[in-house]
């Protein structure tokens, strides 16, 4: 009994010192004591973020072999590599919390871990590559800039590094759209069509309205999340509407209008039925993305085994020499 009381007290004190740190705005580092729920929340969020970077390579990779110029191909190849690099970087950051990359991938395959819903939409034309860079990376940046000040040190540092590259992606995507809008009628139609299909899913990337969001409570208290879904969504809309106007693209929202008194844009209702349907596994590409990742992972097993066998063999040889 005495022992348990003691343990309880220690636990309480650790929790207090953790909360004091958060209060002061200090970063939490891997060796620091942290509540289980904090760790769990971060593992969930960071692995989801890492998986999103990796799964996002699929819809963009879909256009590499069809990129319409050598320059476009280089930009796209480099961008997708950046995303894969973000994935690697985030997997390592998440590993500081005591989970391995293999475990995270297992959780992805079992459906326990998620990835960004946006990649369950198909990339159908070259303009989609522009729209993904401009809108999807554009939305991701808004979220990630906010996460630069997240309380977990490795995550916040990862975000600082990643944000620099993401803003490149956003500009390059915008450049594709701008070029197409200056081009032939076919190109303009292609660009507008991509805009029409990607706009609403991009807004959904920020998640449900604040009033509906189930994860907000602790994440805000622990300063993992620094801005609400609606705040971030608003930021994205306000910067993007002007960019669209400049190149002559129409935002597919008839209710969109400048609100003088709020100093920002009002937007029409988001189709949350669609959001929950896609999250629930019924988007056009949910099955395709997961099946592909699983197939590639399984087919690559013999390569990973060989690399490991070779490593052990060489280690042994070194020991005996």
């Amino acid at each position: 009994m005495e022992l348990m009381e003691k343990a309880g007290k220690i636990h309480e004190e650790l929790l207090k010192s953790f909360e004091a740190k958060i209060e002061r705005g200090d970063a939490i580092e891997p060796r620091d004591k942290m509540p289980d729920a904090y760790r769990k929340h971060l593992i969930r969020q960071m692995s989801q973020h890492a998986h999103s970077e990796v799964i996002g390579m699929q819809p963009e990779g879909n256009w590499i072999t069809r990129a319409p110029s050598l320059r476009a191909k280089q930009i796209l190849l480099a961008k997708i590599q950046d995303e894969g690099g973000h994935g690697l970087y985030l997997y390592s950051a998440a590993e500081t919390l005591g989970i391995s990359r293999a475990e995270m991938i297992e959780q992805l395959h079992s459906g326990k871990a998620k990835y960004s819903n946006i990649f369950n939409y198909p990339s159908l034309t070259w303009a989609d590559i522009g729209a993904i860079g401009w809108l999807v990376d554009g939305a991701a940046i808004v979220n990630q800039v906010s996460l630069q000040r997240t309380s977990y040190g490795p995550y916040s540092r990862a975000m600082v590094r990643i944000c620099k590259e993401e803003s490149f992606h956003q500009r390059q995507g915008y450049e594709i759209m701008a070029k197409m809008m200056k081009g032939t009628k076919d190109q303009q139609e292609m660009a507008q069509d991509a805009m029409n299909r990607w706009w609403w899913p991009s807004l959904m990337m920020f998640g449900p309205h604040d009033s509906e969001s189930p994860h907000t409570g602790d994440a805000v208290k622990w300063k993992i999340k620094r801005h609400s879904n609606d705040e971030l969504r608003q930021k994205f809309i306000d910067k993007t509407v002007q960019q669209a106007e400049v190149i002559g693209l129409t935002i597919p929202d008839k209710d969109l209008k400048w609100n003088e008194s709020r100093g920002c844009y009002d937007h029409g209702p988001i189709n949350w039925d669609e959001f929950y349907r896609v999250i629930g596994g019924h988007g056009q590409c949910n099955k395709q993305r997961m099946a592909h990742h699983i197939k590639v992972h399984n087919e690559g097993a013999w390569v990973r085994e060989a690399a490991e066998a070779y490593r052990l063999k060489k280690e042994k040889q070194l020991l005996h020499s």
Binding site: R66, L77, A309
Partner: protein, 252 residues
């Protein structure tokens, strides 16, 4: 054949090698056995696309008809491509791709090392940049050849079959014709016989270390110098050139 015509064709050959091999490697995006390899193979594809751009751009200049790098990449047909057949073969599994990369990157390493001394300043400059890149491709392919060759029984089997599969396409890498003769006279092109010797030596050594066998005296495939390809190239061009062909007026 004039020197200008020879140089034009020489640049197309090298540019097409880079372009078509980059196409194949870029197909590994989201398909590699480990994320690190996904990034490595597509990064090589990126190097090669840059090389293709430089070489095809230079070819366009030499030709003097106002053709750009993109015109040459996206608007020539099957019979006007001059890449070696080995570049266009399908990727197969990871070991198949590594086997090809071992053969081609070793070839390119010696080739571009010599081309750095070309009397043509543009080619020499492109070669200097390329050597740095292919040195890394070769090291990577060599590492993996050893890992897979000397890894597990299964990986050994895959690696050996990748080597065997590509062997009959390696002879073509060293073929020469009038183009080479004209340019070699002017110290622009490199001596293929010497490259072949070093290539063979290096490959023999790597395969030995990887516990793999060198395939024995087989007939070597040929044809690319006359623009005669495998059935695979047409499909690559169909996909690669789709947007440029479907929207000829468009600028992307």
């Amino acid at each position: 054949m004039t020197q200008q015509q020879a140089l034009y064709k020489y640049c197309l050959r090298l540019g097409d090698d880079a372009l078509i091999q980059s196409y194949r490697l870029s197909e590994w995006c989201s398909n590699a056995p480990i994320l690190e390899e996904d990034l490595a193979l597509t990064n090589f594809a990126l190097d090669m696309t840059g090389r293709a751009q430089a070489l095809l751009g230079y070819a366009g200049q030499i030709d003097g008809q106002g053709k750009t790098d993109d015109d040459l990449a996206y608007k020539r047909g099957e019979r006007q491509f001059y890449n070696h057949l080995i570049m266009e073969l399908p990727n197969g599994n990871f070991a198949t791709t590594i086997a090809r990369l071992l053969f081609t990157s070793t070839f390119e390493f010696y080739f571009y090392s010599d081309l750095m001394n070309s009397a043509d300043a543009t080619l020499a400059a492109i070669a200097a940049k390329t050597v740095k890149e292919v040195k890394y491709h070769m090291a990577h392919a060599t590492d993996w050849t050893c890992r897979l060759g000397d890894g597990t029984q299964e990986s050994h089997r895959h690696m050996q079959s990748g080597i065997d599969h590509h062997w009959m396409y390696t002879g073509e890498l060293f073929e020469t014709d009038e183009v080479d003769a004209i340019l070699q006279d002017r110290n622009i092109a490199v001596d293929m016989a010497s490259i072949q010797q070093r290539w063979h030596q290096s490959i023999t050594q790597v395969l030995k270390e990887a516990t793999l066998k060198i395939p024995a005296g087989e007939h070597m495939q040929s044809g690319s110098q006359q623009g005669i390809h495998t059935e695979y190239l047409g499909h690559i061009l169909t996909e690669m050139q789709y947007l440029q062909r479907a929207y000829p007026e468009a600028i992307w």
